[in-house]
């Protein structure tokens, strides 16, 4: 319950007129459930875990991003929002009220970033951490709900948390220019690098920086195997 008055940038103060929607109905339990989903997803890259969001999130933000925001953000964190989200007074007021997080304009200053894949800057525009403090890198939360694509990108993932290797569809990856190369560069930075959270409709999966991706055949298998 610390107040952030005086620290908030002008953008938050300007949107004071917007009345925020409610957050989680049961903040403690629902945030714990979402945090559990987040931990499981990061421990098992590419596997999908159910994620329940608040009942009335801002329309532009959606329940998935809303659940992650209410779970991971507090007044000590800084957030970068994609241009459409940052322009949405409802979203900015909601985040300010329920989390107290600072909205920053520079991706390099953000602890967390929320965006649709197509609105994401280059991965290395975000904070990558240092060799001494790799945990200070940014976590990118991508809203991939409803993204479908014919002949979508398909990857084979290997690394910690993956039993051998796993193939998975990533229709959202076609929205990010040169995602394969960008991700390979990110993985090469280890222990530095960003982590990706992929929020779908009512579910969440993750690609931590330790996961290596290789392009798989573009034609999806008839039965995609689940790990």
């Amino acid at each position: 319950m610390t107040t952030t008055a005086g620290r908030a940038p002008a953008r938050l103060a300007d949107s004071g007129a917007a009345i925020p929607n409610p957050g989680f109905a049961d903040p403690t339990r629902e945030a714990q459930a979402a945090f559990r989903a987040l931990l499981d997803a990061l421990a098992h890259p590419t596997r999908s875990y159910p994620l329940a969001g608040p009942a009335q999130p801002p329309a532009a933000f959606g329940p998935g991003l809303g659940a992650v925001a209410l779970t991971v953000l507090d007044e000590d964190s800084s957030v970068w929002l994609s241009t459409p989200l940052a322009a949405d007074a409802e979203t900015v007021a909601w985040l300010a009220f329920h989390t107290g997080a600072r909205v920053v304009d520079e991706p390099a200053l953000a602890d967390f970033a929320f965006a649709r894949p197509a609105e994401l800057p280059k991965l290395d525009a975000f904070r990558l951490g240092t060799d001494e403090a790799p945990h200070l890198s940014a976590t990118l939360v991508l809203d991939v709900a409803g993204i479908t694509h014919d002949g979508a990108a398909r990857f084979t993932a290997t690394g910690p948390g993956v039993n051998g290797s796993v193939e998975f569809d990533a229709p959202w990856a076609t929205g990010i220019e040169g995602f394969g190369e960008q991700w390979a560069a990110n993985a090469a930075l280890f222990p530095r690098g960003v982590d990706l959270l992929l929020v779908e409709e009512g579910a969440l999966s993750a690609l931590p920086r330790t996961t290596r991706l290789a392009q798989a055949s573009a034609t999806p298998l008839a039965n995609a195997k689940e790990n």
Binding site: M1, I19, P20, P22, P27
Partner: protein, 154 residues
């Protein structure tokens, strides 16, 4: 400090110090009632109370106080536009915080403010003044004068 802030501090003080029963009675008598949505809480938590010795010097942490807060959104009749009401109340009485937030929301509406001030806030302030006066009179009755010791600040 602006007039508006001082005014709000005055009614928030009256609402925070009020008995829950008095607020509940005032709310059940209130017509027409707008719709009430809970935006946050009511929820209880701790706040660190900070202080300075003699209103100067360095800040220090005096201790933690249990505080209940609530934020509600009011809409519909008789309000012209949606309003937001917020309250922070000492203690763990969730209903108290919720009712105080509702009245703060009503007071945020310029049309309704006068009516809330006369029908709710003024009676609360009166009863609080009476309560304080009675308590002071009680304490005064236990005052002991030591005639053998001369008072320094008589």
């Amino acid at each position: 400090m602006t007039d508006e802030t001082q005014q709000r501090q005055r009614w928030m003080r009256a609402l925070a110090l009020a008995e829950t029963d008095a607020l509940a009675a005032a709310w059940s008598d209130w017509t027409p009632k707008p719709e009430v949505d809970a935006i946050r809480g009511p929820e209880a938590g701790l706040v660190m109370v900070r202080s300075r010795i003699d209103a100067g010097g360095a800040k220090f942490n005096l201790g933690e106080a249990t505080v209940t807060r609530a934020t509600v959104r009011l809409h519909g009749e008789p309000l012209g536009a949606d309003v937001l009401g917020t309250s922070y109340v000492l203690g763990t009485d969730l209903e108290h915080a919720r009712l105080a937030a509702i009245f703060d929301g009503l007071l945020a509406d310029a049309e309704l403010r006068g009516r809330v001030l006369t029908e709710v806030v003024a009676p609360l302030e009166r009863s609080q003044a009476e309560r304080d006066a009675a308590r002071r009179a009680d304490a005064k009755a236990t005052l002991v004068d030591f005639f053998t010791v001369s008072r320094e600040h008589a």
